[in-house]
Symmetry: C2
Subunit: 450 residues, 2 copies
Amino acid sequence: MFLYGESKEMMFHVAGLLLFTRPSRTHPDHLRHLMDDLREGHPTVHPPWNLRLRTPDLLRNPLQSWVEADDVDLEYHVRRTALPSPGDERELGIVVSRLHGHHIDFHRPPWELHLIENLDHDRFAIYVKVHHALVDGFTAMRLLVNALSTDPEDRDRPLFFSIPQPERPPREPTAQEPGGLHFPELLATVRAQYGTTKTVLRALAKVLQGEDDLVTPRQAPKCIINARISRSRRFATQILQIDRLKAVARAVGGTLNDAILAVSSASLRRYLLEIDALPADPLVAMVPVAVRAKDDAGGGNAVGAILASLATHQADPARRIAEIVASTKHAKQQLQGMSKAAILSYSALLLAPSMLQTVPGIAGRIKPTYNVVISNVPGPDHALYFRGAQLEAAYPMSIPIHGQALNITCNSYAGRMCFGFTGCRDTLPHMQRLAVFAGEALGELERAVL
Amino acid sequence: MFLYGESKEMMFHVAGLLLFTRPSRTHPDHLRHLMDDLREGHPTVHPPWNLRLRTPDLLRNPLQSWVEADDVDLEYHVRRTALPSPGDERELGIVVSRLHGHHIDFHRPPWELHLIENLDHDRFAIYVKVHHALVDGFTAMRLLVNALSTDPEDRDRPLFFSIPQPERPPREPTAQEPGGLHFPELLATVRAQYGTTKTVLRALAKVLQGEDDLVTPRQAPKCIINARISRSRRFATQILQIDRLKAVARAVGGTLNDAILAVSSASLRRYLLEIDALPADPLVAMVPVAVRAKDDAGGGNAVGAILASLATHQADPARRIAEIVASTKHAKQQLQGMSKAAILSYSALLLAPSMLQTVPGIAGRIKPTYNVVISNVPGPDHALYFRGAQLEAAYPMSIPIHGQALNITCNSYAGRMCFGFTGCRDTLPHMQRLAVFAGEALGELERAVL
């Protein structure tokens, strides 16, 4: 599915942006030395990082499969790059936005790692891009983070591709994993269940004709976010203390996820107001969730999605978050009352418009059932290190598609929530404001509800 | 034609890489200030730099045309980038190779300018990429160079796109211009005369059947250079004193161009020997030339091409250059005895295989009539400046196509010849050696013939 949809504008790769603080004892050119090590050491590249497509010139080949590459050219896959002066977060944002806007070369294993130097305050960054057809974003972030060390004295840690995986990473979240998943995974899971677009359309028709006992999704208002996208990307980040988010959530009887939605909502409202593009009706967020279905005795999680009102019509922060909490509570109750099969049908119904975006001609021309996807995936809660450098933040970068020019994904790490805003540069001008406003939104919420 | 051929692997953009020495009085962050000026000054973007395609999603539209863009987003087109440490020519080569391997966005005016900082010895670089369908390489380099100043005290020089052109730059070299042209221009001119590929094929068949009084081109040997290409590029540069090249040429009764061919030949021979890929028969170079046809009373130049043996089978440098001189003399005599029409027919015959490379399925699977294109275009012979920074070198970057994985193009500037080796990264491993060997080849030739 992700290969089928790939086009000049829609690129189905995900990425992680990791920021590190360089330990004082290391040489300023340590990233260069790391590259030299790689060149000279000829490290083994373990699956899945050594897999490439069998027919890269025919992405949509029904007999498409993964084959082991004879030789992985690490000088291609691992690259050095530098930030222009002054090397601040703004320049980092510009550079990774550009990197995220370049296509993956399908003639090689579809991943790239960029070592980014000249970041201020003695820091450096690692940007890892991987095509979603090889590894989903959830798994990629986990593999990336698992490849780091909990020990600051561990100075020989290999890069993630040289760490053998016990098995091919599973494509679906399992019950062992904490709840939460990224939008592309949800799309893939539903697609795997429903098969072709035609089948999805039939299911959709059935639901709309009232033959199925499901709630028809509410209509999302028209918004600039739901336009066709161009090839260019913009990425912006924000990092917030989880304790602060939780305190706000507790004060209004909501969850951490509600606080994330409220921060995102405040930011979107202010951003859209400033460019005179705020719809009169509240924006609708699609939130991927993993829930326990009522008929599942095994305790496994079903993959689902809820629609939540972001209450962006509300100027008052306290009333806004209250409406968000009410909306998500209602949606989750609805989902929990369903069988596993019904949850999937419902999710398919919600996702049908997004799946149709991969059909040429339809892309970007369907009325949205939601305006924006907001995902929240738990990560490690303790500090991690790469060769003595402490991981400061791990931001997820996701996939804008036609009709969904913005994606908000959060990963938690060591007590902080790392927000990644991935968008289309041309559809959403000055998108970095979203990140700035999200930071200010938390303070506003605290003043309103604490 | 250049839009028709555009694909994931074949990108018909050309570029210029300009190296500057920063004057001692300027601030180290002057490039950043230049960007700030651009952002705040909202400079006018003059034709052709404000033109975009009418139907960018349908490149091959027969009704394709250029339209003025409503708004040129200079923050997109003008970018800053920085070299990783140590900021030497090797890192510069890596960065511009990557930039050259990215597609142009046809939804915008198809050009980009990159200000490259952190180049060692107080230098910086400007990389300008433009799609050949908008402006040919010859004209682009001229516009770029003309936008510079002859006065080191001129500190307000606008960038090239803000300098009004008297008219749309002509697509064909005129008699006023010094001889020499780039390969893509030759291809375009011949194509314009011959129309469709079918017509070219008919002309080709006619010649091969002996109905036309033309010499059938010699067969070039099989060589790794003439393989299909991938998406990745590698760029390498060399700069040589023109006086030294001319002295070598004089000593063997040849031209400056012969010396350029001899340097290229020595480099190719050594490079191919090292990777055990030197053909037993001599490599054949295609050299675009502008010659005076015997039937042209107006004194205009005809656009043509000669095939020259590079004598790469000769281990002895003196014998090698002697054979090259004999080969180009013979080819030029042949061309000068032809009518203007015949010169064009002959060029079409030579170029037919390259034109067929743009036909899907045929690309990269035709036996070459030549192995490599070597172009030499005269540039300004005096020093130029951009806001006080002296232009040190101006390297041309050209277009590898399927079957022609390497292109060698030279521009002269202020007494020096700037060689640009543009190649496919995967077809030609460690291509930067070609540039190193070219530098050493000149000394070898001097020792052999002076």
